[in-house]
Symmetry: D2
Subunit: 339 residues, 4 copies
Amino acid sequence: MKAVKIGSVGLGRLGYEHARNLANLIPGCVLQAVCDMDEPRLRAVAEELNVPRAYTNFAQMCEDPEVEGIVIVSPSFLHVEQIRLAMEHGKHVFCEKPLGVDVPQCRQAEAVVERHPELVFQLGFMRRFDVSYAEAKRRVEAGEIGRVVLVRSYTQDPRSTIESTLKFAPHSGGQFLDMCVHDLDLVRWFTGSSIQKVWGIGGVFEFDLYRELNDADNAAAMVQCENGAMGFLFTNRTHAAGCNVETEIIGTRGTLRVAPVGARDLLQIVDGHGARQEYYPDFMSRWHDAFVAELTAFTGHIRSGTRPSDLTVYDGTAVSEAAYRCKESFECGKMLPIR
Amino acid sequence: MKAVKIGSVGLGRLGYEHARNLANLIPGCVLQAVCDMDEPRLRAVAEELNVPRAYTNFAQMCEDPEVEGIVIVSPSFLHVEQIRLAMEHGKHVFCEKPLGVDVPQCRQAEAVVERHPELVFQLGFMRRFDVSYAEAKRRVEAGEIGRVVLVRSYTQDPRSTIESTLKFAPHSGGQFLDMCVHDLDLVRWFTGSSIQKVWGIGGVFEFDLYRELNDADNAAAMVQCENGAMGFLFTNRTHAAGCNVETEIIGTRGTLRVAPVGARDLLQIVDGHGARQEYYPDFMSRWHDAFVAELTAFTGHIRSGTRPSDLTVYDGTAVSEAAYRCKESFECGKMLPIR
Amino acid sequence: MKAVKIGSVGLGRLGYEHARNLANLIPGCVLQAVCDMDEPRLRAVAEELNVPRAYTNFAQMCEDPEVEGIVIVSPSFLHVEQIRLAMEHGKHVFCEKPLGVDVPQCRQAEAVVERHPELVFQLGFMRRFDVSYAEAKRRVEAGEIGRVVLVRSYTQDPRSTIESTLKFAPHSGGQFLDMCVHDLDLVRWFTGSSIQKVWGIGGVFEFDLYRELNDADNAAAMVQCENGAMGFLFTNRTHAAGCNVETEIIGTRGTLRVAPVGARDLLQIVDGHGARQEYYPDFMSRWHDAFVAELTAFTGHIRSGTRPSDLTVYDGTAVSEAAYRCKESFECGKMLPIR
Amino acid sequence: MKAVKIGSVGLGRLGYEHARNLANLIPGCVLQAVCDMDEPRLRAVAEELNVPRAYTNFAQMCEDPEVEGIVIVSPSFLHVEQIRLAMEHGKHVFCEKPLGVDVPQCRQAEAVVERHPELVFQLGFMRRFDVSYAEAKRRVEAGEIGRVVLVRSYTQDPRSTIESTLKFAPHSGGQFLDMCVHDLDLVRWFTGSSIQKVWGIGGVFEFDLYRELNDADNAAAMVQCENGAMGFLFTNRTHAAGCNVETEIIGTRGTLRVAPVGARDLLQIVDGHGARQEYYPDFMSRWHDAFVAELTAFTGHIRSGTRPSDLTVYDGTAVSEAAYRCKESFECGKMLPIR
């Protein structure tokens, strides 16, 4: 298998996970370069993972002729500029969500990608690469549940991580942008339609900080798609049992539920609490295999010259737009159309 | 145990179920009289259940001095008038949902009940008498899940009964009125708050008849309560696996799910379809024990001179009002406030 | 419905449950008389349940011409003598397990029953009347799982009741006799065959008292039936999660599992312990409906002049014999044939 | 990470799976050589997986100085001789189960391993490397369920593969040897004790071929360990729902169940068959990750100079001995001691 050489930018929590996967777990992949402004961190990771090149300057990494593709896990406001730089230097790009911090930025990203049809561009919607979500999609496509009527999707972070969550809350963009984007992507993916109307609601049930931020600590949105299909999203940060991402797809002929009890292994425990399954402790462990799968797909596309068939830059824009409208709706108290 | 003598009006499907329960399964209850305009049906049921008196005229049953309480299972448009007649004759009243066919009717019922504080008045929200729902309520009240944030509730009828459903569709009042009232009651009951805003959506995904009726075959609504708690309802008539009524109550500290797989017994079947539980085949079997329990409570109140503490005529009005607003919202495409 | 008048002997924990069911919950049944040697207890129950007659002498109750059938819930060593007395006085008999305290006693009971084919005789194998077990049997009979290959059945009492269990341990007859008889009945019922070979094992894992009693606190037995089908039983008294009675029937074409997680209602709880279902707290709550159903069947047979078709006195003997052989096998350390 | 070079012998179904994992999925591993007597097969695999060396002669592969460790997936009767040859040439050895085809052969293997303490020797008990089994072991070790009382373990192959199963039946060694060895290993592993008594039973319920082979198509065994703990095993080849390997560990304080419904992903399907989870279609997909994990451990031990701490050649002997005694017990109809 021909080796594919990757550079990765951003070595925060998820950035480090991607870097380690690229270095160790993606078949036929070589982690050729890493980039981060935090130089001690950069050196430490480069050494640990045995990475040949380490850059504090993203533009320089883009000029490295050994690097074929770039994985962007930097702060959101840098995404679009880094996509532009990377593609103008002929690098394939994998970009974490969100595509941009507002819709105009997303449009700029679209323009860049459109100018480089010869390059792979892939978004970090890793749920699509999870075996259970992929199997659900396969069954929907095969018509097993008839027409899709409703997609219900929850994203709940474990209460155990609430401290760090509160710390990042002022810069997270709020629940709808930070948490619901994956669910909005799933609504679009499973219905095969685009979101037309949204109503976002929520409240501050426990942490007053969110009131100051004009945000909610528990939020929900109902959406309706162009083809009439419906969506319902719920998110909070205080799930007692661990990481809970569950999705239900109701069709006219059957229903699929992904991770309705979120079991992290095949273990059932029977004790003083009854018969029980535990959840994944955090999103990192929940999606580990999906993170590996999405980068395996990315390097595979580079190697084979193919493109992701149904995961494009436009999905990034559409999802961001829907998330923004949910936030606006929550703020103004009205149901809002999209466009 | 002192016998309590009951008269029952309406011998349709649910009316017959109630009559049989009153005759055979409610401890200390005597089914003293039955009433229906269909005389052959009336005679047959009276004979089968060994009921002393049979009336085709409701007013006459109200004059029967042996009858202490009346169970109303007649067509909806008759409810309010029958409540009035019964209470004016000094009879305790159990009335099936809906309280009335519109909000003004419900207000009339309120006035009648207010004039007779000496009489028991109970509404047929049988879900509250189901052991699982009652246990969920007990846990919520005990603070086990913290503050209630979201109540999600589905009412899905089995596809196997779609023929009769389509037949009754023109007179059912539509999905929100006919199906969601129980879910709206649960939202109010579990949140301990009243519904303030609603947005109802839906579509015709399979049966064109519903388009002609200006109704949907799959419908959903999101609601927000006065205290900020949220609700999400979904209903359809085509659940492949049988009768599915499931409710999830998400709190700040934990979540309760009632009947998330709706198993009708404690049987797990492992065969070519995997490991599976079957659902109740229809709502009659799902709620059989709850139907018995609610009438046991009704006759118990009569016997002991007590009143249902948290199930009043005003609940009937509030739920009807919310259901009407969902329907209006669906028709006009806007989010609507209540009052 | 013609009233059936019943006398009940034994007002211990289960005796009181049966008496209360007979008085209040069995349609068309009148609890005409109760009998117990503890006179204050007798008076109290008779008054509470409004029972016309109260006897401290069983023979006298047998002479009461109003009593049509007798429910025997007395200490095991009295069963056979009471069956004889009752039937010789022309009373129908329902007898709790075990039929007798040894096999010769069981044979005497058989002889009495054979002399009175005009009378109903029914044994207290209430599991057969549980809706889930009955549904499993129906599916087995319908051939849904092919030939029955293995029946695995557990009887585990909740640890929360260990104190009273230890108190009664010296007179319980030991785990195999006291706990496994219901499981042995199920092996015979589901395989439709008789038990031919047994090997009982066990150990004292926690409570030294059982060592003194030459018994085990955890015990298991494997059995093989005449038709080759296999059985496995396990029992203990320390189930942390509550009452656990679960049974698995493996066939050549499918498997049925009754109560594999023993949920006491349709509630799923999601909290710091994961997603969980709680078990029934004790056997009384687990089998309440089955207790009602078996006595409804008994009074129904009396009323209609029918007989239990597949639950005979010989089942009582066969199950007792198998339980004794398991105990012997455990004591001698050998696999033993039956007869 | 230092590369570890492996040679693999045997390219049957499981041999090919291991070879492909070694070539593509084991971090830091190089598949240096493959060996099989079927030369076209050998060439095809070597080419597909880009393996530098291909041998039809095992002894020659043992002389290859590039090869550091050898993975043995050849027919069982060759295992001991290949272990000897490999270790005498200084190669680390990973050997698939069974260790040998009889107990004397296993003793020979023990002697070889004892002569080479400088080399890694690891057995293919992959279940121990499955995340769910490993987590169960961790909880047992942590005392979460108290003392282990009973280990129940099933190995059921899917009915869909019955044709090929019947083809191999004459040379499989029978159900106890071919199927139960993994379960016997689990009994020993979870109880931390050795098996002392066994009673094996079974029958021919469907496929007459097994009668000719003096084998059973459904077989069970109960065992008792030196410390009093108990075990129950069941196996057949006709599981309608797919591959079912489930294990229950009952302790004095709690119970663990591994894969009680064997779900192959986190998908729940609700359709005309109820709410259901599907099983893994075959053992290859069930254990894929465990196969990768055990070889990752093997190459890790080679790299770091460590040894598997609780998985030794003696486990292989003990498990084989127990399996043989189960078979003898089944044949002679008696309960048998071990040694």
